[in-house]
Symmetry: C2
Subunit: 252 residues, 2 copies
């Protein structure tokens, strides 16, 4: 893991890093409290489709979790996203924006293939982060990711025993039929599952089916009115509370 750039703003240090995974360069960001020393809870954030590691909702939640809970927070660009975007990816994203992101067999296949890559990338990132003094390897580790951040995050959390709780959402069985349910069944950590009543990409009934599939004993589903890109801002407070309940807090 190589650190490239560092800046500190209102108590939050933001460091860009990159690391090599399977011959590809994966760029990421680590947010920590200014002058952080010693182990602390870590949250990994997976961005949505066509987004990247520093979109406003990821940046804002990262800063909140650092300032309010004293955590370390990391995000990486998914394959074909952010700094990893090719001209082909740009054309692909344009098509998604045009047709509203409807699922086709080709997109499902691409999502599954990228999802497999992302699990390996997160594992390697986590190995590197846990070697840092200001993160440490004692855990606990939380995951946050909705939409594509869940499509990739559900297989990752199912495969990664170091993750102790997770927030998913904007996700439904219809995203990948049985495949997603098979991963969901293996997850047993506490979950918060955020969904939208008028999501144009899935029905709340199909999201409820996925909620039922999670193997976790403690899991809470939230449904709010509005479209895919419209989780109400007041729910951000829930993320802080959820992580604090399951991972405690650290001195900022």
């Amino acid at each position: 893991m190589e650190f490239i750039e560092e800046m500190t703003e209102r108590g939050v240090t933001e460091r860009r890093f990159q690391l090599e995974v399977d011959g590809e360069t994966v760029p990421g960001i680590l947010w920590t409290p200014e002058d952080a020393r010693g182990a602390r809870p870590l949250v990994l954030q997976g961005h949505g489709g066509t987004q990247h590691k520093r979109v406003p909702n990821i940046l804002s939640l990262s800063r909140r979790l650092v300032r309010h809970n004293g955590y370390a927070v990391a995000a990486i660009d998914a394959p074909g996203h952010g700094e990893r975007m090719t001209d082909e990816d740009r054309a692909h994203n344009e098509a998604i924006r045009r047709d509203g992101g409807a699922m086709t067999d080709e997109r499902r296949k691409q999502l599954a293939e990228r999802g497999r890559r992302v699990t390996g990338e997160w594992k390697t990132t986590l190995d590197a982060l846990q070697k840092l003094d200001e993160v440490g390897n004692a855990g606990p580790i939380g995951y946050w990711g909705v939409s594509m951040g869940s499509a990739f995050g559900i297989p990752f959390v199912a495969a990664e025993p170091r993750v102790t709780c997770a927030i998913f959402g904007l996700a439904a069985l219809s995203m990948g039929r049985r495949a997603i349910a098979d991963h969901a069944e293996k997850i047993e950590v506490p979950l918060l599952f955020m969904n939208q009543l008028n999501d144009e990409l899935m029905t709340p009934e199909s999201a409820l089916e996925l909620f039922k599939a999670f193997g976790s004993k403690e899991k809470t589903m939230h449904i709010n009115p509005g479209p895919h890109m419209g989780i109400p801002r007041f729910e951000v407070e829930q993320y802080e509370l959820f992580y604090a309940r399951h991972m405690g807090t650290a001195e900022p």
Copy 2:
């Protein structure tokens, strides 16, 4: 409104009251901060079937809302419950406990008839409470009630413009088919709607249908695993946050 008994414990004054509505004596409790002066937000709590105005969940939420948010909180016994229970009601409750509370036509009819009474009883109670200096008539007013507290509370909130936000739950379209949906459609205040995935009295799908029916623009549905009588304790914090967001807080 006649006050009968008063006690104060750890900053919370609890006063039993009674008032006459349509020839019946309705007994209630008002919780306020010790030595409270001046107007403050008020929460009305409707208990569940076979329960009463001072069951542990109502008592504990009342005390939290008084201590943490500085509110006034009131609860009354529903017809056939608590101090209003007759031998016939006792036999009826015994039957409910025996068969798990399954809905029959007779029970639906009784619920509807009692629901109509309760709306009048709450309105009269609210009139009296708003005349007290430590409650005031400036509002805001919240409602809390799950299960029978929703079966009665949904028609009440639909009919009472003074209520500015409400928490319902353990409720579904199957509770009263169209009747409950007709009331739900008239409600436009912010809602929190708490439901259980393994509720033995209704399916989450039927609860989702009722959630869709509410006319409110801002409404959030929570679903947790577990039976009818098993809303997780951590959700209590949500009630405080929800009321604080919509009604503010007062000096305790």
